[in-house]
Amino acid sequence: MKLIVTVVGKDRVGIIAAVTKILADNNVNILSINQNILNGFFNMILFAEAGESKIRLVDLQQKLREQGEAIGVEIKTQHQDIFDVMHKI
Protein backbone atom coordinates (compact mmCIF):
# COMPACT_ATOMS: atom_id res chain seq x y z
CA MET A 1 0.00 0.00 0.00
CA LYS A 2 1.43 3.35 -1.05
CA LEU A 3 0.76 6.40 1.07
CA ILE A 4 0.97 10.13 0.58
CA VAL A 5 1.62 12.25 3.65
CA THR A 6 1.10 15.99 3.33
CA VAL A 7 2.30 18.29 6.08
CA VAL A 8 1.48 22.01 6.21
CA GLY A 9 2.06 24.49 9.02
CA LYS A 10 4.30 27.09 10.61
CA ASP A 11 7.95 26.12 10.31
CA ARG A 12 9.93 24.99 13.35
CA VAL A 13 12.75 22.65 14.23
CA GLY A 14 12.10 18.93 13.98
CA ILE A 15 8.97 18.56 11.83
CA ILE A 16 10.53 16.05 9.44
CA ALA A 17 12.12 14.20 12.33
CA ALA A 18 8.79 13.93 14.13
CA VAL A 19 6.95 12.65 11.06
CA THR A 20 9.60 10.24 9.86
CA LYS A 21 10.12 8.77 13.33
CA ILE A 22 6.50 7.64 13.41
CA LEU A 23 6.85 6.17 9.93
CA ALA A 24 10.06 4.34 10.87
CA ASP A 25 8.61 3.05 14.14
CA ASN A 26 5.74 1.54 12.17
CA ASN A 27 7.90 0.02 9.46
CA VAL A 28 6.74 2.40 6.75
CA ASN A 29 9.41 3.03 4.08
CA ILE A 30 9.89 6.51 2.63
CA LEU A 31 10.18 6.64 -1.18
CA SER A 32 10.50 10.36 -1.77
CA ILE A 33 10.19 13.68 0.02
CA ASN A 34 9.37 17.06 -1.50
CA GLN A 35 9.71 19.86 1.01
CA ASN A 36 10.06 23.64 1.03
CA ILE A 37 9.42 26.73 3.13
CA LEU A 38 7.14 29.43 1.74
CA ASN A 39 6.84 32.68 3.74
CA GLY A 40 7.70 30.87 6.95
CA PHE A 41 5.27 28.04 6.22
CA PHE A 42 6.47 24.50 6.02
CA ASN A 43 5.12 22.38 3.14
CA MET A 44 5.99 18.73 2.65
CA ILE A 45 4.66 15.95 0.50
CA LEU A 46 6.07 12.57 1.38
CA PHE A 47 5.64 9.38 -0.65
CA ALA A 48 5.81 6.18 1.37
CA GLU A 49 5.32 2.45 1.04
CA ALA A 50 3.64 0.53 3.84
CA GLY A 51 4.02 -2.96 2.36
CA GLU A 52 5.88 -4.42 5.34
CA SER A 53 3.93 -2.51 7.93
CA LYS A 54 1.44 -4.24 10.20
CA ILE A 55 -0.32 -1.07 11.31
CA ARG A 56 -3.82 -0.27 9.97
CA LEU A 57 -3.93 2.89 7.91
CA VAL A 58 -6.55 4.50 10.13
CA ASP A 59 -4.33 3.94 13.19
CA LEU A 60 -1.27 5.37 11.45
CA GLN A 61 -3.34 8.38 10.37
CA GLN A 62 -4.35 8.98 13.94
CA LYS A 63 -0.78 8.78 15.26
CA LEU A 64 0.42 11.25 12.64
CA ARG A 65 -2.54 13.57 13.20
CA GLU A 66 -1.90 13.63 16.95
CA GLN A 67 1.80 14.28 16.41
CA GLY A 68 0.86 17.12 14.03
CA GLU A 69 -1.37 18.68 16.65
CA ALA A 70 1.44 18.43 19.20
CA ILE A 71 3.91 20.33 17.00
CA GLY A 72 1.42 22.74 15.43
CA VAL A 73 1.21 21.42 11.85
CA GLU A 74 -1.53 19.69 9.89
CA ILE A 75 -0.63 16.17 8.82
CA LYS A 76 -2.81 14.37 6.31
CA THR A 77 -2.16 10.76 5.37
CA GLN A 78 -3.94 9.27 2.37
CA HIS A 79 -3.93 6.08 0.37
CA GLN A 80 -2.23 6.89 -2.94
CA ASP A 81 -5.05 5.31 -4.95
CA ILE A 82 -7.24 8.42 -4.68
CA PHE A 83 -4.61 10.44 -6.56
CA ASP A 84 -3.95 7.66 -9.06
CA VAL A 85 -7.58 7.23 -10.06
CA MET A 86 -8.13 10.94 -10.44
CA HIS A 87 -5.05 11.76 -12.47
CA LYS A 88 -4.30 8.58 -14.45
CA ILE A 89 -6.46 6.90 -17.05
Partner: protein, 452 residues
Protein backbone atom coordinates in the same frame (compact mmCIF):
# COMPACT_ATOMS: atom_id res chain seq x y z
CA UNK B 1 4.13 8.91 -11.21
CA UNK B 2 1.81 11.24 -9.38
CA UNK B 3 3.09 14.81 -9.36
CA UNK B 4 3.02 17.32 -6.53
CA UNK B 5 0.54 19.40 -8.56
CA UNK B 6 -1.82 16.42 -8.84
CA UNK B 7 -1.75 15.92 -5.07
CA UNK B 8 -2.35 19.59 -4.36
CA UNK B 9 -5.18 19.72 -6.91
CA UNK B 10 -6.96 16.72 -5.40
CA UNK B 11 -6.61 18.02 -1.86
CA UNK B 12 -7.77 21.48 -2.88
CA UNK B 13 -10.86 19.93 -4.48
CA UNK B 14 -11.62 18.21 -1.19
CA UNK B 15 -10.79 20.95 1.29
CA UNK B 16 -11.62 24.16 -0.60
CA UNK B 17 -14.12 23.10 -3.29
CA UNK B 18 -16.04 20.66 -1.10
CA UNK B 19 -15.55 17.57 -3.23
CA UNK B 20 -17.20 14.66 -1.51
CA UNK B 21 -18.91 11.38 -2.16
CA UNK B 22 -22.51 12.21 -1.40
CA UNK B 23 -23.75 8.78 -0.55
CA UNK B 24 -22.97 5.09 -0.37
CA UNK B 25 -26.35 3.45 -0.64
CA UNK B 26 -26.78 -0.24 0.00
CA UNK B 27 -29.70 -1.72 -1.88
CA UNK B 28 -31.30 -4.63 -0.05
CA UNK B 29 -33.94 -6.90 -1.54
CA UNK B 30 -36.79 -7.70 0.83
CA UNK B 31 -38.39 -10.19 -1.55
CA UNK B 32 -37.44 -13.06 0.74
CA UNK B 33 -39.10 -11.38 3.75
CA UNK B 34 -42.75 -11.71 2.67
CA UNK B 35 -45.07 -13.30 5.23
CA UNK B 36 -48.86 -13.31 5.70
CA UNK B 37 -48.49 -12.24 9.31
CA UNK B 38 -47.53 -8.56 9.64
CA UNK B 39 -45.51 -9.10 12.79
CA UNK B 40 -43.47 -11.91 11.23
CA UNK B 41 -42.97 -9.84 8.09
CA UNK B 42 -41.68 -6.90 10.14
CA UNK B 43 -39.32 -9.18 12.05
CA UNK B 44 -37.97 -10.61 8.78
CA UNK B 45 -37.44 -7.11 7.41
CA UNK B 46 -35.71 -5.86 10.55
CA UNK B 47 -33.45 -8.90 10.74
CA UNK B 48 -32.46 -8.79 7.09
CA UNK B 49 -31.64 -5.08 7.09
CA UNK B 50 -29.69 -5.09 10.34
CA UNK B 51 -27.80 -8.24 9.33
CA UNK B 52 -26.96 -7.10 5.79
CA UNK B 53 -26.06 -3.50 6.60
CA UNK B 54 -24.37 -4.12 9.94
CA UNK B 55 -20.96 -2.91 8.73
CA UNK B 56 -22.10 -0.35 6.14
CA UNK B 57 -21.50 2.78 8.21
CA UNK B 58 -18.23 1.55 9.72
CA UNK B 59 -16.88 0.56 6.30
CA UNK B 60 -17.91 3.93 4.85
CA UNK B 61 -16.10 5.73 7.64
CA UNK B 62 -12.94 3.68 7.15
CA UNK B 63 -12.85 4.40 3.42
CA UNK B 64 -13.47 8.07 4.12
CA UNK B 65 -10.53 8.18 6.48
CA UNK B 66 -8.08 6.15 4.40
CA UNK B 67 -8.54 8.11 1.19
CA UNK B 68 -9.18 11.43 2.87
CA UNK B 69 -12.38 12.13 0.97
CA UNK B 70 -15.59 12.85 2.90
CA UNK B 71 -18.44 10.39 2.43
CA UNK B 72 -21.40 12.40 3.61
CA UNK B 73 -24.17 9.82 3.80
CA UNK B 74 -24.55 6.11 4.24
CA UNK B 75 -28.01 4.96 3.28
CA UNK B 76 -30.18 1.96 2.55
CA UNK B 77 -32.74 1.36 -0.17
CA UNK B 78 -35.15 -1.56 -0.07
CA UNK B 79 -37.57 -3.27 -2.43
CA UNK B 80 -40.76 -1.20 -2.80
CA UNK B 81 -42.72 -2.06 0.31
CA UNK B 82 -46.03 -2.21 -1.59
CA UNK B 83 -44.71 -5.29 -3.41
CA UNK B 84 -43.21 -7.21 -0.51
CA UNK B 85 -45.92 -6.31 2.03
CA UNK B 86 -48.82 -7.14 -0.21
CA UNK B 87 -49.27 -10.68 1.08
CA UNK B 88 -49.54 -9.40 4.69
CA UNK B 89 -53.00 -9.26 6.14
CA UNK B 90 -52.84 -5.63 7.18
CA UNK B 91 -54.93 -2.52 6.75
CA UNK B 92 -52.03 -0.12 7.24
CA UNK B 93 -48.31 -0.31 6.46
CA UNK B 94 -47.36 2.24 9.11
CA UNK B 95 -45.91 -0.51 11.37
CA UNK B 96 -43.64 -1.50 8.46
CA UNK B 97 -42.40 2.07 8.13
CA UNK B 98 -41.70 2.08 11.86
CA UNK B 99 -39.76 -1.16 11.46
CA UNK B 100 -37.66 0.36 8.66
CA UNK B 101 -37.02 3.38 10.87
CA UNK B 102 -35.85 1.21 13.76
CA UNK B 103 -33.61 -0.87 11.50
CA UNK B 104 -32.08 2.28 9.96
CA UNK B 105 -31.37 3.72 13.40
CA UNK B 106 -29.89 0.43 14.58
CA UNK B 107 -27.31 0.34 11.76
CA UNK B 108 -26.71 4.11 11.92
CA UNK B 109 -27.63 5.19 8.38
CA UNK B 110 -28.99 8.67 7.54
CA UNK B 111 -32.04 7.56 5.56
CA UNK B 112 -33.79 4.44 4.36
CA UNK B 113 -35.73 4.60 1.10
CA UNK B 114 -38.28 2.25 -0.38
CA UNK B 115 -41.60 2.97 1.29
CA UNK B 116 -42.68 2.95 -2.29
CA UNK B 117 -45.15 1.78 -4.90
CA UNK B 118 -44.92 1.53 -8.69
CA UNK B 119 -48.35 2.37 -10.04
CA UNK B 120 -47.87 3.91 -13.46
CA UNK B 121 -50.46 1.62 -14.97
CA UNK B 122 -52.71 0.95 -12.00
CA UNK B 123 -53.01 -0.15 -8.39
CA UNK B 124 -52.85 -3.47 -6.63
CA UNK B 125 -54.28 -3.81 -3.13
CA UNK B 126 -50.79 -3.40 -1.63
CA UNK B 127 -50.23 -0.20 -3.60
CA UNK B 128 -53.47 1.24 -2.26
CA UNK B 129 -52.66 0.42 1.35
CA UNK B 130 -49.17 1.83 1.00
CA UNK B 131 -50.28 5.13 -0.53
CA UNK B 132 -52.99 5.45 2.13
CA UNK B 133 -50.33 4.87 4.82
CA UNK B 134 -47.81 7.45 3.56
CA UNK B 135 -48.84 10.53 5.60
CA UNK B 136 -48.98 8.66 8.89
CA UNK B 137 -45.81 6.69 8.06
CA UNK B 138 -43.80 9.83 7.34
CA UNK B 139 -45.13 11.57 10.43
CA UNK B 140 -44.34 8.60 12.68
CA UNK B 141 -40.77 8.05 11.45
CA UNK B 142 -37.58 10.08 11.12
CA UNK B 143 -35.49 8.30 8.49
CA UNK B 144 -38.00 6.62 6.18
CA UNK B 145 -38.33 8.01 2.67
CA UNK B 146 -41.24 7.31 0.37
CA UNK B 147 -41.61 7.45 -3.38
CA UNK B 148 -44.34 6.71 -5.88
CA UNK B 149 -43.79 6.09 -9.57
CA UNK B 150 -47.01 7.13 -11.29
CA UNK B 151 -45.97 7.54 -14.90
CA UNK B 152 -43.66 6.03 -17.48
CA UNK B 153 -42.93 6.47 -21.16
CA UNK B 154 -44.18 2.93 -21.84
CA UNK B 155 -47.36 3.17 -19.73
CA UNK B 156 -48.42 6.81 -19.77
CA UNK B 157 -49.60 8.73 -16.70
CA UNK B 158 -51.86 7.31 -13.99
CA UNK B 159 -54.04 10.39 -13.44
CA UNK B 160 -55.98 8.74 -10.61
CA UNK B 161 -52.73 8.51 -8.70
CA UNK B 162 -51.77 12.07 -9.72
CA UNK B 163 -54.99 13.25 -8.06
CA UNK B 164 -54.44 11.09 -5.01
CA UNK B 165 -50.82 12.19 -4.52
CA UNK B 166 -51.85 15.86 -4.35
CA UNK B 167 -54.04 14.91 -1.42
CA UNK B 168 -51.39 12.66 0.15
CA UNK B 169 -48.85 15.50 0.05
CA UNK B 170 -51.38 17.83 1.70
CA UNK B 171 -52.17 15.28 4.44
CA UNK B 172 -48.47 14.63 5.02
CA UNK B 173 -47.88 18.36 5.39
CA UNK B 174 -50.75 18.61 7.85
CA UNK B 175 -49.53 15.71 9.99
CA UNK B 176 -46.00 17.17 10.18
CA UNK B 177 -47.07 20.82 10.43
CA UNK B 178 -45.24 21.27 13.74
CA UNK B 179 -41.98 20.63 11.82
CA UNK B 180 -42.84 22.82 8.82
CA UNK B 181 -44.23 19.88 6.86
CA UNK B 182 -40.91 18.05 6.84
CA UNK B 183 -42.74 14.82 5.97
CA UNK B 184 -43.11 16.15 2.43
CA UNK B 185 -39.32 16.45 2.12
CA UNK B 186 -39.23 12.67 2.43
CA UNK B 187 -41.80 12.03 -0.30
CA UNK B 188 -41.08 11.99 -4.04
CA UNK B 189 -43.47 11.48 -6.93
CA UNK B 190 -41.74 10.09 -10.03
CA UNK B 191 -42.17 9.52 -13.71
CA UNK B 192 -39.77 6.91 -15.14
CA UNK B 193 -38.20 6.24 -11.72
CA UNK B 194 -34.80 4.52 -11.96
CA UNK B 195 -34.47 1.20 -10.11
CA UNK B 196 -30.94 1.84 -8.87
CA UNK B 197 -31.00 5.45 -7.67
CA UNK B 198 -28.79 5.95 -4.59
CA UNK B 199 -30.16 9.43 -3.78
CA UNK B 200 -32.94 10.18 -1.34
CA UNK B 201 -35.76 10.67 -1.00
CA UNK B 202 -36.43 8.67 -4.17
CA UNK B 203 -34.17 5.65 -3.65
CA UNK B 204 -35.65 2.18 -3.77
CA UNK B 205 -34.18 -1.21 -4.64
CA UNK B 206 -35.71 -2.28 -7.94
CA UNK B 207 -37.20 -5.73 -8.34
CA UNK B 208 -34.68 -6.70 -11.02
CA UNK B 209 -31.70 -5.83 -8.84
CA UNK B 210 -29.54 -8.48 -7.12
CA UNK B 211 -30.14 -9.43 -3.49
CA UNK B 212 -27.81 -6.70 -2.25
CA UNK B 213 -25.91 -4.03 -4.13
CA UNK B 214 -23.73 -0.98 -3.52
CA UNK B 215 -24.63 2.19 -5.42
CA UNK B 216 -22.67 5.39 -5.00
CA UNK B 217 -23.71 8.99 -5.64
CA UNK B 218 -20.95 11.51 -6.27
CA UNK B 219 -21.11 15.25 -5.87
CA UNK B 220 -18.88 18.21 -6.59
CA UNK B 221 -20.61 21.34 -7.94
CA UNK B 222 -17.97 23.42 -6.15
CA UNK B 223 -15.20 21.71 -8.11
CA UNK B 224 -16.93 22.39 -11.44
CA UNK B 225 -17.54 26.02 -10.54
CA UNK B 226 -13.92 26.46 -9.49
CA UNK B 227 -12.73 25.00 -12.81
CA UNK B 228 -14.89 27.50 -14.70
CA UNK B 229 -13.68 30.47 -12.65
CA UNK B 230 -10.41 30.38 -14.61
CA UNK B 231 -12.26 30.45 -17.95
CA UNK B 232 -13.50 34.01 -18.25
CA UNK B 233 -14.44 34.70 -21.89
CA UNK B 234 -13.89 31.10 -23.05
CA UNK B 235 -16.40 29.77 -25.56
CA UNK B 236 -18.84 26.94 -24.87
CA UNK B 237 -16.74 24.28 -26.59
CA UNK B 238 -14.00 25.02 -24.08
CA UNK B 239 -16.48 25.20 -21.19
CA UNK B 240 -17.92 21.80 -22.09
CA UNK B 241 -14.45 20.24 -22.33
CA UNK B 242 -13.48 21.60 -18.92
CA UNK B 243 -16.66 20.30 -17.30
CA UNK B 244 -16.08 16.88 -18.87
CA UNK B 245 -12.55 16.66 -17.51
CA UNK B 246 -13.67 17.77 -14.06
CA UNK B 247 -16.60 15.34 -14.04
CA UNK B 248 -14.19 12.56 -14.99
CA UNK B 249 -12.02 13.27 -11.96
CA UNK B 250 -14.99 13.54 -9.60
CA UNK B 251 -16.46 10.29 -10.86
CA UNK B 252 -13.19 8.40 -10.57
CA UNK B 253 -13.24 9.12 -6.85
CA UNK B 254 -16.79 7.77 -6.68
CA UNK B 255 -15.76 4.66 -8.59
CA UNK B 256 -12.85 4.05 -6.22
CA UNK B 257 -15.08 4.42 -3.18
CA UNK B 258 -17.74 2.17 -4.70
CA UNK B 259 -15.25 -0.56 -5.55
CA UNK B 260 -13.69 -0.45 -2.11
CA UNK B 261 -17.06 -0.50 -0.35
CA UNK B 262 -18.16 -3.38 -2.56
CA UNK B 263 -14.99 -5.37 -1.88
CA UNK B 264 -14.92 -4.78 1.86
CA UNK B 265 -18.60 -5.48 2.38
CA UNK B 266 -18.68 -8.43 -0.01
CA UNK B 267 -21.62 -6.85 -1.82
CA UNK B 268 -21.70 -6.45 -5.62
CA UNK B 269 -21.05 -2.99 -7.06
CA UNK B 270 -24.14 -1.67 -8.84
CA UNK B 271 -23.72 1.78 -10.33
CA UNK B 272 -22.24 5.21 -9.90
CA UNK B 273 -24.79 7.99 -10.07
CA UNK B 274 -23.07 10.89 -11.82
CA UNK B 275 -25.23 13.59 -10.30
CA UNK B 276 -23.84 16.93 -9.29
CA UNK B 277 -25.61 17.12 -5.95
CA UNK B 278 -25.48 20.53 -4.26
CA UNK B 279 -25.73 21.41 -0.57
CA UNK B 280 -26.91 24.62 1.11
CA UNK B 281 -23.26 25.43 1.94
CA UNK B 282 -21.67 28.35 0.10
CA UNK B 283 -19.43 27.02 -2.69
CA UNK B 284 -21.41 23.84 -3.29
CA UNK B 285 -24.12 25.12 -5.63
CA UNK B 286 -25.30 24.11 -9.11
CA UNK B 287 -26.94 27.54 -9.58
CA UNK B 288 -23.58 29.24 -9.08
CA UNK B 289 -22.08 27.14 -11.91
CA UNK B 290 -24.78 28.43 -14.26
CA UNK B 291 -24.06 31.98 -13.10
CA UNK B 292 -20.34 31.40 -13.61
CA UNK B 293 -21.15 30.76 -17.28
CA UNK B 294 -22.28 34.37 -17.54
CA UNK B 295 -25.82 34.65 -16.22
CA UNK B 296 -26.49 37.53 -13.83
CA UNK B 297 -28.74 35.28 -11.77
CA UNK B 298 -29.96 31.72 -12.05
CA UNK B 299 -33.30 31.87 -13.88
CA UNK B 300 -32.25 34.58 -16.34
CA UNK B 301 -32.82 33.77 -20.03
CA UNK B 302 -30.12 31.27 -21.01
CA UNK B 303 -30.43 29.29 -17.79
CA UNK B 304 -32.01 26.27 -19.46
CA UNK B 305 -29.29 26.18 -22.12
CA UNK B 306 -26.57 26.51 -19.51
CA UNK B 307 -28.07 23.67 -17.49
CA UNK B 308 -28.42 21.49 -20.60
CA UNK B 309 -24.74 21.95 -21.38
CA UNK B 310 -23.74 21.25 -17.78
CA UNK B 311 -25.89 18.13 -17.53
CA UNK B 312 -24.63 16.70 -20.80
CA UNK B 313 -20.97 17.42 -20.12
CA UNK B 314 -21.17 15.89 -16.64
CA UNK B 315 -22.53 12.67 -18.16
CA UNK B 316 -19.97 12.58 -20.95
CA UNK B 317 -17.07 13.10 -18.55
CA UNK B 318 -18.40 10.74 -15.93
CA UNK B 319 -19.28 7.87 -18.24
CA UNK B 320 -15.69 7.04 -19.03
CA UNK B 321 -14.67 7.22 -15.40
CA UNK B 322 -16.99 4.48 -14.21
CA UNK B 323 -17.60 0.91 -15.30
CA UNK B 324 -21.34 1.16 -14.60
CA UNK B 325 -23.36 4.34 -14.57
CA UNK B 326 -27.01 4.60 -13.59
CA UNK B 327 -29.43 6.21 -11.17
CA UNK B 328 -30.43 9.77 -11.87
CA UNK B 329 -27.07 10.89 -13.32
CA UNK B 330 -27.05 14.58 -14.24
CA UNK B 331 -27.38 17.82 -12.33
CA UNK B 332 -29.78 18.26 -9.43
CA UNK B 333 -31.68 21.49 -8.97
CA UNK B 334 -33.27 21.19 -5.53
CA UNK B 335 -34.17 24.68 -4.39
CA UNK B 336 -33.78 24.46 -0.62
CA UNK B 337 -30.61 22.38 -0.87
CA UNK B 338 -28.70 24.80 -3.13
CA UNK B 339 -27.47 28.12 -1.78
CA UNK B 340 -27.49 29.74 -5.25
CA UNK B 341 -31.03 28.53 -6.01
CA UNK B 342 -32.25 29.93 -2.69
CA UNK B 343 -30.62 33.27 -3.46
CA UNK B 344 -32.15 33.25 -6.97
CA UNK B 345 -35.66 32.67 -5.61
CA UNK B 346 -35.13 35.41 -3.00
CA UNK B 347 -34.04 37.98 -5.57
CA UNK B 348 -36.92 37.05 -7.86
CA UNK B 349 -34.91 35.70 -10.78
CA UNK B 350 -36.11 32.11 -10.47
CA UNK B 351 -39.77 31.08 -10.64
CA UNK B 352 -41.43 27.68 -10.46
CA UNK B 353 -42.21 27.96 -14.19
CA UNK B 354 -38.53 28.48 -15.04
CA UNK B 355 -37.65 25.57 -12.77
CA UNK B 356 -40.13 23.45 -14.72
CA UNK B 357 -38.41 24.38 -17.97
CA UNK B 358 -35.05 23.50 -16.43
CA UNK B 359 -36.32 20.05 -15.49
CA UNK B 360 -36.68 19.27 -19.22
CA UNK B 361 -32.89 19.16 -19.52
CA UNK B 362 -31.60 18.10 -16.11
CA UNK B 363 -31.68 14.92 -14.14
CA UNK B 364 -34.65 15.22 -11.85
CA UNK B 365 -37.47 17.67 -11.42
CA UNK B 366 -39.19 20.16 -9.16
CA UNK B 367 -37.27 19.31 -6.06
CA UNK B 368 -37.46 20.64 -2.51
CA UNK B 369 -39.69 23.58 -3.33
CA UNK B 370 -41.64 25.04 -0.43
CA UNK B 371 -45.00 26.53 -1.38
CA UNK B 372 -47.69 28.26 0.60
CA UNK B 373 -49.89 26.05 2.78
CA UNK B 374 -53.02 27.29 1.03
CA UNK B 375 -51.99 25.77 -2.32
CA UNK B 376 -54.74 23.22 -3.01
CA UNK B 377 -54.30 19.49 -3.52
CA UNK B 378 -55.52 19.81 -7.10
CA UNK B 379 -52.92 22.49 -7.86
CA UNK B 380 -50.20 20.20 -6.48
CA UNK B 381 -51.63 17.44 -8.66
CA UNK B 382 -51.57 19.76 -11.67
CA UNK B 383 -47.87 20.46 -11.08
CA UNK B 384 -47.22 16.72 -10.73
CA UNK B 385 -49.08 16.03 -13.99
CA UNK B 386 -47.00 18.63 -15.84
CA UNK B 387 -43.74 17.19 -14.56
CA UNK B 388 -44.83 13.65 -15.33
CA UNK B 389 -45.74 14.72 -18.88
CA UNK B 390 -42.26 16.19 -19.38
CA UNK B 391 -40.69 12.94 -18.22
CA UNK B 392 -42.99 10.65 -20.18
CA UNK B 393 -42.75 12.50 -23.47
CA UNK B 394 -39.01 13.10 -23.26
CA UNK B 395 -38.22 9.57 -22.06
CA UNK B 396 -36.47 10.79 -18.94
CA UNK B 397 -36.87 10.68 -15.20
CA UNK B 398 -38.75 13.56 -13.65
CA UNK B 399 -39.88 13.97 -10.08
CA UNK B 400 -41.77 16.30 -7.80
CA UNK B 401 -40.97 16.99 -4.17
CA UNK B 402 -43.12 19.93 -3.10
CA UNK B 403 -43.66 21.09 0.47
CA UNK B 404 -46.93 22.97 1.07
CA UNK B 405 -46.04 24.47 4.44
CA UNK B 406 -49.17 24.99 6.58
CA UNK B 407 -49.53 28.60 7.69
CA UNK B 408 -46.66 29.85 5.52
CA UNK B 409 -47.13 32.58 2.91
CA UNK B 410 -45.06 33.86 -0.01
CA UNK B 411 -42.22 35.89 1.47
CA UNK B 412 -41.72 33.57 4.46
CA UNK B 413 -38.63 31.41 4.77
CA UNK B 414 -38.79 27.86 6.09
CA UNK B 415 -35.75 26.21 7.63
CA UNK B 416 -35.12 22.46 7.67
CA UNK B 417 -31.45 22.37 8.62
CA UNK B 418 -28.66 20.07 7.50
CA UNK B 419 -28.59 18.95 3.90
CA UNK B 420 -32.29 19.78 3.47
CA UNK B 421 -31.44 23.46 3.86
CA UNK B 422 -33.92 26.34 3.88
CA UNK B 423 -36.26 27.83 1.34
CA UNK B 424 -38.27 30.95 0.66
CA UNK B 425 -41.91 30.14 -0.12
CA UNK B 426 -42.15 30.04 -3.91
CA UNK B 427 -45.23 31.63 -5.55
CA UNK B 428 -47.52 29.28 -7.48
CA UNK B 429 -49.96 30.08 -10.31
CA UNK B 430 -53.32 30.99 -8.73
CA UNK B 431 -55.63 29.60 -11.42
CA UNK B 432 -57.43 26.35 -10.69
CA UNK B 433 -56.70 22.88 -12.13
CA UNK B 434 -59.51 21.26 -10.16
CA UNK B 435 -61.79 20.09 -12.98
CA UNK B 436 -58.79 18.84 -14.96
CA UNK B 437 -57.47 16.77 -12.06
CA UNK B 438 -60.93 15.49 -11.10
CA UNK B 439 -61.21 13.56 -14.38
CA UNK B 440 -58.83 10.78 -13.38
CA UNK B 441 -58.11 7.82 -15.68
CA UNK B 442 -54.90 7.44 -17.64
CA UNK B 443 -53.09 9.66 -20.09
CA UNK B 444 -51.99 7.20 -22.80
CA UNK B 445 -48.34 6.42 -23.49
CA UNK B 446 -46.94 8.79 -26.11
CA UNK B 447 -46.02 7.91 -29.67
CA UNK B 448 -42.25 7.47 -30.03
CA UNK B 449 -41.90 8.45 -33.66
CA UNK B 450 -42.85 11.67 -35.48
CA UNK B 451 -40.77 13.39 -32.79
CA UNK B 452 -41.44 17.07 -33.25
Amino acid sequence: MITIEDILETNQMITVNKLDVRTITMGISLRDCAHPNLRDFCRNVYDKITRTAEFLVKTGEEIESEYGVPIINKRISVTPIAIVAESCKAESYVPIAETLDRAAKEVGVNFIGGFSALVEKGYTSGDRILIESIPQALAATDLVCSSINLASTKAGINMDCVREMGEVIKRTAELTRDKQAIGCAKLVVFANAPQDNPFMAGAFHGVSEPDTVINVGVSGPGVVKHALEDMKGANFTEIAETIKKTAFKITRVGQLVAQEASRRLGVPFGIIDLSLAPTPAVGDSVARILEEMGLEACGAPGTTAALALLNDAVKKGGLMASSHVGGLSGAFIPVSEDEGMIAAVKRGSLSIEKLEAMTCVCSVGLDMIAVSGDVSASTLSGIIADEAAIGVVNNKTTAVRLIPVPGAKVGDIVEYGGLLGYCPIVPVNKFSSEAFIARGGRIPAPVRSLTN
